[in-house]
């Protein structure tokens, strides 16, 4: 067997209250695509941050080509040929692609654009990664940004490329293209590390997989041993229901009705364009789409947080287009935003204070001037118990809660108001399998109580599991809509990118989604 490029030996990393990595060993060989699989919180991101020099391990060794090296900063990691593509891209948005690629490089004092462009072009040719060096980052689609990150690492001479959840934000077609590129890199003798929690991806592309559970290596599987059942067993340590029992929807009257709604995003550019959409009582409408195609704006328009330029929003046939957020809340619209902490919940406030965020003004919780602390505390105790939120104390600021508990707390508040309409964005993002299951069950239960639910997600699996009807949003418009029985994954993927293919979009350098 060849000598490993990198070998991690006995890595330990502690965070306050968490043992993120517990004596982890791993070896990376040239030419392989190595998947690191684990649930959220299993320690895979921490391990990779150690490899990238961002965190320093408390114990353990990193061997590069058989020699122990200390990584004290990302500079060292880059020096030893390790390039990291983070899940949250480390790109400077107002800069051009070329500026981002040369950033941090130690070369000439003056910037030389021409030399840089030539080299980017050469790399692009060699690995089949085409990018326009003059485009500004904010103009690019997510897939293109990812390509910039990869090219940047190759430009810095990386032999080991680490990608953290690279397909989380891509369409199936974009993901396919990424995999082709990664294959090409591996055959050029690079080692590619793929951090993921998606089993099908691992099966499709990985040569070897290391499974982490609770900070430890639960097992290493070679290509011929990789099966979904085995991976789940290692990852979760128990059997998991891969599908829910679905009750047919008894969809009734239309609750939410959007008619040709146009709205601007924060930059003042139209991001909803005459978008029309209907959600009925007792159904889950799953809205698929690559994030940044107007989802956030759509949700905010419904919640009254964003002004609409034209069109009409109705709730139960009553127009709510220009109502204030408070009026819309009081009419029975719940909204679970994508920023759990910072929008949905206030990090510095405690559980009791967060649970009355939307109804503190109602006579139940306050008089004309003063709050009713006893009622508020009782209310919090009941909800925390009913929704099984795990917390140390009701008086503790919620920022110290885990992602799963935050989401449960948020859903507890939003569901307890018995809403007519519930808008949820990316409800399971960043949650582990257990928490995801709990969140999904809450939504299905809410549906059975006749609430109309608009589920906005970029995770097609989630939509297929929960939705009764599926719509695709692209470029601020509803780009197709089907009942769940007629939904075809391939077609949804194509619609998510508009009718045009990836190649076309890159060639004419058009900003993909504004």
């Amino acid at each position: 067997m060849k000598e490993p490029l990198i070998s991690l030996q006995g890595i330990v990393k502690k965070f306050p209250g968490v043992l993120a990595n517990d004596h982890v060993n791993m070896e990376l060989y040239p030419g392989e695509i190595h998947a690191v699989l684990g649930e959220n919180g299993s320690g895979k991101s921490t391990l990779m941050s150690i490899l990238a020099g961002l965190y320093r391990p408390d114990l353990g060794k990193i061997m590069v080509s058989g020699v122990e090296q200390k990584f004290r900063s990302p500079r060292d990691a880059i020096f030893y040929g390790i390039g990291m593509v983070h899940q949250h891209f480390k790109l400077v948005e107002p800069f051009s692609v070329a500026e981002n690629i040369t950033l941090g490089e130690k070369d000439s004092f003056l910037l030389s654009k021409e030399k840089l462009k030539t080299k980017i072009h050469e790399l692009g040719e060699k690995y089949g990664l085409k990018i326009n060096p003059d485009a500004k980052i904010w103009q690019l689609s997510v897939g293109e940004k990812q390509r910039v990150e990869i090219v940047r690492m190759l430009y810095r001479g990386s032999k080991v490329l680490v990608l953290d959840e690279p397909t989380a934000v891509l369409t199936p077609q974009e993901a396919q293209e990424l995999f082709n590129n990664l294959r090409r890199l591996a055959s050029a003798n690079c080692a590619v590390v793929l951090i993921t929690h998606k089993l099908n991806e691992v099966q499709e592309i990985a040569d070897r997989v290391t499974v982490l559970r609770q900070g430890k290596v639960a097992g290493v599987l070679e290509k011929n041993q990789i099966t979904a059942q085995e991976m789940v067993r290692l990852m979760v340590g128990r059997e998991v229901a891969l599908n829910y029992e679905r009750k047919p929807s008894s969809a009734g009257r239309v609750v939410l009705d959007l008619e040709k709604v146009t709205a601007l995003n924060d930059l003042g550019i139209p991001s909803l364009r005459e978008c029309s959409l209907r959600v009925r009582e007792g159904e889950i409408f799953g809205l698929a789409g690559v994030s940044g195609n107007g989802q956030r704006e759509l949700a905010e328009v419904i919640a009254g947080l964003r002004r609409i330029e034209s069109g009409k929003v109705s709730l139960d046939s009553q127009e709510i287009s220009h109502r204030s957020p408070r009026e819309i809340i009081d009419l029975g619209v719940s909204y679970v935003p994508e920023d759990r902490l910072g929008m949905g919940l206030v990090p510095q406030l405690n559980t009791m204070e967060n649970l009355i965020l939307k109804n503190y003004h109602q006579p139940e919780y306050s008089g004309r001037w003063l709050l009713k602390p006893k009622v508020i505390q009782k209310h919090a105790e009941v909800l925390v118990d009913q929704y099984q939120v795990k917390l140390a104390s009701l008086h503790q600021p919620v920022k110290s809660l885990s992602g799963g508990n935050l989401q449960k707390l948020l859903l507890a508040r939003e569901i307890s108001g018995a809403p007519k309409l519930m808008v949820v964005i990316y409800p399971a993002r960043g949650l582990d399998i257990g928490a995801t299951e709990a969140v999904h069950k809450l939504l299905l239960e809410l549906k059975s109580r006749k609430t109309a639910i608009l589920l906005i997600s970029e995770d097609l699996d989630e939509i297929l599991k929960l939705a009764d009807r599926v719509g695709v949003i692209f470029n601020g418009q509803l780009n197709g809509e089907f009942p769940i029985e007629q939904t075809n994954l391939e077609e949804v993927g194509l619609l998510m990118m508009g009718s045009r293919s990836v190649e076309e979009r890159i060639d004419d350098n058009e900003p993909a989604c504004l």
Partner: protein, 357 residues
């Protein structure tokens, strides 16, 4: 490249012991630093401190003077705390105080014969309105266009001070005042009554009552809850349907109004007329008081007295040849240590293994 041999580790919960101890230690460390500085510049630190605190706290006269200085500090700091709660950085208390003093002065100068029961409330209302409007001038562009209130409130301080100067050097100058920059003496009806025979005036009672009221508002009221939510996360507040713009206007108005009241108690309770330099920077010191008190109204009452003492002590040491500026130097240093010390309440310092070369 230096590697620090320790690292900060975030505490899951702020340490309650540290919240109380840090301000105390900060004051002591600042005094220690001040002592080193004093001896470096050829002073005897013990003698200087003895003069400072002996004067400010040791005699009945000194202590009443300390309370006299504490009144405008309390009022301004209470005003500031309302704005700071909402993360509105109103550093215009000084100007709002001047405007309050100016507006309060207008009434006795224009209608000198009003009876006290009309005069005093009238002066207070005018002072609060003027201080409030001064805050509102910064609040309106903040609410509409998000114009940085730090700079606008601060610039307005200079404008207010110059306005008062214009009046006391010009149209409002006392004709019988030998050309000194002050207005005529107020009639008796325009003077706040004192407590006993001291110079401490009824403003102290007002400030303490206001502190208690604010403590209740911050902790138990709907309004205070909204303030807390908006201050912690504007996004969440919008999401919860709160009216942020309206709140910015109301909060800066109130904040300015309370500082304006401090201006009224100064001219009416202490000086008895409007004059050049009516405040030696109370509005700025009050910022430190508010922060040191962690925006807790009851703590503000106590910390104001400490800082009043520092102010009185600053004047006292001038007699032994030390510049009064030593007081504001110490104030700044206290704040440095408090800020640095806050790290101890939120983080735990741990030794990290040194990266070998």
């Amino acid at each position: 490249m230096n590697r620090l041999a320790f690292k900060l580790e975030k505490r899951l919960n702020p340490s309650p012991a540290m919240i109380a101890i840090v301000p105390l230690i900060s004051v002591l460390l600042a005094l220690l630093l001040g002592a080193i500085f004093l001896s470096l510049t050829g002073q005897n630190p013990l003698a200087v401190y003895a003069t400072m605190f002996g004067e400010a706290l040791g005699s009945k006269y000194g202590f009443t003077e300390t309370l006299v200085k504490a009144i405008p500090l309390m009022l301004s700091a209470l005003g500031i705390s309302i704005a700071f709660k909402m993360q509105l950085w109103n550093i215009g208390a000084e100007g709002q105080l001047y405007m309050g003093a100016l507006a309060a002065t207008w009434l006795p100068l224009t209608y000198p014969n009003l009876p006290a029961y009309l005069m005093l409330p009238g002066m207070a209302m005018l002072a609060m309105a003027a201080g409030g409007i001064w805050g509102l001038i910064a609040a309106i562009p903040k609410a509409i266009w998000k114009v940085d209130e730090i700079i606008t409130t601060l610039m307005l301080n200079y404008v207010a001070i110059l306005w008062v100067d214009y009046l006391v050097y010009g149209p409002w100058k006392d004709p019988k005042g030998f050309n000194f920059p002050f207005t005529a003496q107020f009639p008796g009806a325009a003077r706040l009554p004192g407590l006993g025979d001291s110079r401490v005036n009824a403003g102290l009672v007002l400030a303490v009552l206001l502190a208690i009221l604010l403590a209740v508002v911050f902790k138990y009221s709907r309004w205070g809850y909204e303030l807390k939510v908006i201050g912690a996360s504007e996004q969440s507040a919008r999401y919860a349907g709160m009216h942020i713009k309206k709140k910015i206007l109301v909060v800066l108005f109130l904040s300015g109004a309370i500082s304006g009241l401090a201006g009224m108690t100064e001219v009416s309770g202490i000086v008895g007329r409007l004059q050049h330099g009516i405040s030696p920077g109370y509005g700025y010191t009050a910022i430190i008081v508010a922060w040191l008190s962690k925006l807790n109204p009851l703590a503000i009452v106590l910390v104001s007295i400490l800082f009043g003492a520092l102010q009185v002590g600053g004047y006292a040491v001038q007699v032994v040849g030390v510049p009064a500026a030593v007081a504001s130097m110490l104030q700044g240093a206290i704040l440095f240590f408090v800020l640095g010390g806050e790290v101890l309440t939120n983080y735990r310092i741990r030794r990290a293994q040194r990266g070998e070369k």
